[in-house]
């Protein structure tokens, strides 16, 4: 028991110290790489002969889609950390990843729609991939809603962890069924991206943007974890202060036991 307590105590401490040192560097690095990616994407890469300038939307759309999935993977890993290993940072990591993932999923949907209007002639197509991402977004919203619904952070973390893992099991099923549904209702004429091989002149901006935005997402995740740790610290200090205040108002012999029981 003492080791587990120390483990719980030491890890966030070390994390706070380490992250405080790393965070500015990561922020700077992600800014530099993203800026380079933007330069490549907007200025030094050619327009596609078929899609014209709209191909440049891909340099945001594809990294956003990748991050939508990657952050869900981070959440699922953290959920395992919460439920199985009871790692004290896992709750925090889960909570910090959710809004970032939801934001990138939304960005993926918006840019996909902006690409679809000139290419497909409509803002939204019930295309298999778009629809799967929409369902992913709905799952993200559910997770965010559950975080807001339960007040106690530990209890909320366990509930969200279960939901996240159920979603993790469900996402491939959703993908499969949406694909199936899509082939059943074959859309009339839709320009597909799959066939086209990507030229190196487009691969580089895509790659750079993906790395830049991934670094950005990791920076935001780390910063979110720091905020959440501070928030929990404030919460526990407030609770302790309230305990102490309550204890002061009680007669002496009762104080220890009742305050201890009340601290839950």
């Amino acid at each position: 028991m003492p080791t587990s307590f120390l483990w719980g105590l030491a890890n966030p401490t070390r994390f706070m110290a380490l992250s405080a040192r790393i965070l500015p560097w990561m922020a700077a690095l992600s800014a530099v790489v993203t800026a380079a990616g933007l330069y490549l994407a907007l200025f030094s890469s050619p327009a596609d002969y078929q899609q014209g300038e709209t191909v440049r939307i891909m340099y945001i759309h594809v990294p956003a889609a990748w991050l939508a999935l990657a952050l869900y993977a981070i959440m699922s890993l953290s959920a395992l950390g919460t439920l199985v290993w009871r790692h004290p940072l896992a709750d925090v990591s889960q909570k910090a990843a959710a809004p970032i993932g939801a934001a990138f999923t939304l960005l993926c949907l918006v840019t996909g729609s902006l690409w679809g209007k000139p290419m497909w002639g409509t803002w939204w197509v019930w295309d298999a991939r778009l629809t799967s991402v929409l369902v992913l977004f709905l799952i993200y919203l559910g997770i965010l809603a559950l975080w807001r619904a339960i007040e106690d952070p530990g209890q909320a973390a366990r509930a969200v962890a279960i939901l996240t893992l159920v979603g993790f099991v469900n996402i491939p099923i959703v993908k499969f069924s949406v694909d199936w549904w899509n082939t059943l209702h074959q859309p009339a004429s839709v320009i597909r991206m799959d066939g086209a091989t990507i030229d190196a002149s487009m691969l580089w901006p895509l790659f750079t943007m993906a790395i830049g935005l991934t670094l950005l997402a990791l920076t935001l995740h780390m910063s979110g974890m720091r905020s959440e740790i501070l928030a929990r610290r404030a919460r526990s200090l407030t609770l302790k202060a309230a305990d102490r205040a309550a204890e002061r108002q009680r007669p002496l012999p009762l104080s220890a036991g009742s305050a201890g029981a009340g601290s839950a």
Binding site: G8, L42, G52, L114, W115, R232, R233, A234, G260
Partner: protein, 110 residues
């Protein structure tokens, strides 16, 4: 080089604007959030430190008893991570607060 006279340029620019808005929103949220957390902790610390400095006329025994009881509960109970995080980086905030926060942690355990 992006051609600004292309027919669909509006959509491209809108996509990049959307990305800028979403990312700016995320960054702004992160910055404001950490500011607010730090300020809240500063306020708490100010109150807490004041309480430490003035040796309370009451009962130090009772206080330490409360501490050990709640610690014992927390290792088992759900709050362990929250409490761990809570005790963890006290006085950190700035760079180089590591050593101090370790000391704090130890004195908390005692």
């Amino acid at each position: 080089m992006i051609a600004l006279d292309s027919p669909h340029i509006g959509f491209v620019l809108a996509a990049y604007m959307a990305a800028a808005i979403v990312i700016a929103g995320l960054v702004l949220r992160a910055v404001i959030d950490s500011r607010m957390r730090n300020r809240a902790l500063d306020i708490l610390a100010a109150r807490g430190v004041a309480r430490h400095r003035v040796p309370s006329s009451g009962h130090p025994e009772g206080a330490s008893a409360v501490r050990t009881i709640s610690d014992g509960r927390d290792t088992v109970g759900s709050e362990s991570s929250a409490q761990g995080a809570g005790y963890a980086g006290r006085g950190e905030g700035e760079e180089g607060g590591t050593a101090r926060s370790h000391d704090d942690g130890r004195s908390d355990r005692r």
